[in-house]
């Protein structure tokens, strides 16, 4: 019984993490209809920035996290302004080729700069180990992830639903032409959203180093997970990807624990079945038009 609860807890933490990693992609892929397979590269960038700051320069972990966000967002906005924006109107094949190219470059570049071995971030002692709550083993680090990611999710939902920027974004996505007719600077809104999504990925990358490990092949290994979150979750709201990430996280942890021999088999099968059953995702409208 307790092991089930502990697994559930780990699964929720993992799912929350996946959500923070992938929600930027939910916007670019789901809302802007741009197939960005290089999304994991931004996450990896954030992770490595955090690792260098904490391990090599002795920054405290919590000070390095915002910087992981900022640096990934900065890389994101530079690339968006220089390269990505030319590709919004191109075919999906072009977008796929372009972003695969970027992914390959990022993998080799990080390999060159940091070496190909797996790295870990030195955590403060307060985050290590686990404690018992009514007999359920709760990892401190995972609890922190749930808190941070939960707060982020609520904040995101509030921003999207309540603020002026949120309504601008929704308008720009629904009909870019009409939105620009109302005086909304659509490219700017997209650029900002893209950068913010990259920043979140960077933060997710920094947080995930402890749980899934960080190496130069991160973007390739987790590409499928991000895509699953977005395609299964749909894109009508932020809730779809959120639920999809939770589902994926719990299924993945449970699958690895109870049927370890099947490996990632469970996840892929579930994904294919869901896509066949509901090609537009479990929740809401189609991701690609």
């Amino acid at each position: 019984m307790t092991s089930i609860l502990t697994n559930l807890f780990d699964g929720v933490a993992y799912g929350m993490l996946l959500f923070v990693l992938a929600c930027g992609l939910a916007v670019t892929l789901g809302l802007m209809n741009f197939v960005n397979l290089a999304h994991g590269a931004f996450a990896m960038a954030g992770g490595y920035v955090c690792m260098v700051l904490v391990n090599r320069m002795g920054w405290p972990f919590f000070a390095a996290l915002p910087l992981a966000f900022v640096s990934s967002a900065a890389i994101g906005i530079v690339l968006e302004r220089t390269l990505y924006r030319h590709l919004y109107t191109r075919s999906h094949l072009d977008q796929v080729l372009f972003t695969i190219g970027l992914t390959f470059m990022s993998v080799a570049a990080v390999d060159y700069i940091q070496g190909s071995s797996r790295v870990f971030i030195n955590l403060p002692a307060a985050l290590q180990g686990q404690f018992d709550l009514f007999g359920v083993g709760i990892g401190r680090y995972r609890l922190m992830i749930i808190v941070i990611c939960g707060l982020l999710t609520i904040a995101l939902q509030m921003v999207l639903a309540k603020t002026r920027f949120g309504s601008r974004l929704r308008a720009a996505v629904d009909d870019p032409r009409a939105a620009s007719g109302f005086g909304i600077n659509v490219p700017q809104v997209f650029a900002f959203t893209f950068a913010f999504g990259c920043g979140l990925a960077g933060l997710g990358g920094a947080l995930s180093a402890e749980i899934v490990g960080l190496d130069p092949y991160f973007p390739l290994k987790f590409m499928i997970y991000f895509l699953i979150v977005v395609t299964v979750g749909g894109s009508s709201s932020i809730t779809g990807p959120f639920l999809a990430s939770l589902l994926l996280g719990i299924a993945d942890v449970a699958g690895k624990y109870y049927v370890p021999k099947m490996g990632p088999f469970v996840i892929y099968t579930i994904m294919i079945v869901i896509l066949i059953w509901r090609p537009n995702g479990l929740f809401g409208r189609t991701a690609a038009r």
Binding site: V35, L97, L102
Partner: protein
């Protein structure tokens, strides 16, 4: 002349063999005699060319973007390896065909998943299938040999007469023969009314359905055929290298394949062949410059190709040949730039 006979006339003209094509195959054959010390790399290029041709059939002609074409390559590779390892079918040509058929069955089964949904769902499903097979191959390591791969494969002589030699001479001519035969068949297919209907589907599925083309059935047929080709390519891989390991399913293989096709150009069959040569040459070049990080440069090439634009790039590449052809054969005889893609 009525419009319909006009279309037929152009289609027939397109389907006719040109001198350039004959020259191309003669050059390929000549390579086999001119560079006897390079059989291994040349065989590698031929395999890649066949694999790329397979992707061209679905991407260039039917407009299906696949990120998991390595699935069929891998199934073909393991099928050929297992057949040879356990001595089920010792004759290589027969084993090749059987391995291709196994991949074809998988292609047929998965085609129903692929024709559903839009580009994005297709990307996901094809990628998912390849990953699924990789996970399966890893899981059933007692059959596939797991991460070590299949080892100790010994190939019997072709037709019981021509043994594989250690320099790869047999392997090269064997691969070349297979490639040429399959090319002839593919050429016949894409210039048939069936092939023309595929192009119609690629340009506009809705309109194609409106003029009475059974869209789904055509897509299933071409996807199945492409799976057969990819399976043969995989089987050739196992037969000529005598190994089959998990990386036959790897995502990088599918991604590289896209690059091969993009370099060569889609939608005219020779794209895969030319792309395979250029890709291997690029890879060799990059890995002599930076042995460990050649992937970076490959990625850069991809990014550059997309940013410059594939159409423009092919126009540039055809500029000099067209200039020469114009001088010799007059104004009208030019090599057209390949069609645009999905």
């Amino acid at each position: 002349m009525s419009a319909s006979s006009d279309v037929g006339y152009h289609a027939q003209r397109q389907a006719r063999w040109h001198y350039g094509e004959a020259a191309f195959w003669l050059i390929v054959l000549a390579c086999g005699f001119v560079f006897p010390s390079r059989y291994l790399i040349m065989t590698d290029i031929l395999r890649l060319a066949l694999f790329a041709m397979s992707l061209d059939l679905i991407l260039g002609y039917a407009g299906i973007v696949s990120l998991g074409h390595a699935a069929f390559f891998g199934v073909g590779a393991y099928a050929a390896g297992l057949l040879a390892l356990h001595g089920i079918i010792n004759e290589p040509v027969l084993a090749l065909v059987v391995a291709g058929l196994v991949a074809m069955v998988l292609g047929f089964a998965t085609s129903f998943l692929v024709i559903r949904g839009v580009d994005l769902t297709r990307l996901m499903v094809t990628l998912g299938i390849a990953l699924l097979l990789e996970a399966l191959a890893e899981r059933f390591s007692n059959i596939t040999g797991g991460t070590d791969g299949l080892q100790g494969i010994e190939m019997q002589p072709i037709f019981g007469e021509i043994p594989f030699d250690m320099f790869g001479k047999t392997g090269f001519f064997y691969s070349l023969a297979v490639l040429f035969l399959l090319f002839l068949f593919a050429r016949r297919v894409v210039h048939s009314p069936f092939g023309l209907s595929l192009r119609a589907i690629k340009n506009n599925p809705l309109r194609a359905a409106a003029i009475g083309i059974p869209v789904n059935r055509r897509l299933i047929a071409i996807y199945t055929l492409a799976a057969f080709y990819a399976g043969i390519a995989g089987a050739l891989f196992t037969q000529t290298t005598a190994i089959a390991s998990l990386d036959v399913f790897a995502f990088e293989r599918s991604a590289d394949l896209m690059l091969v096709l993009v370099i060569g150009g889609t939608g005219y069959l020779y794209g895969g062949l030319i792309g395979a040569v250029l890709f291997r040459m690029l890879q060799e070049l990059f890995s002599t410059i930076t042995p460990q990080y050649w992937q970076f440069w490959i990625g850069l090439v991809l990014v550059a190709i997309v940013l410059i634009g594939r159409q423009r790039l092919h126009r540039w590449m055809l500029y000099v040949p067209n200039l020469v052809i114009r001088q010799i054969a007059g104004r009208k005889a030019v090599v057209a730039a390949p069609e645009s893609d999905a």
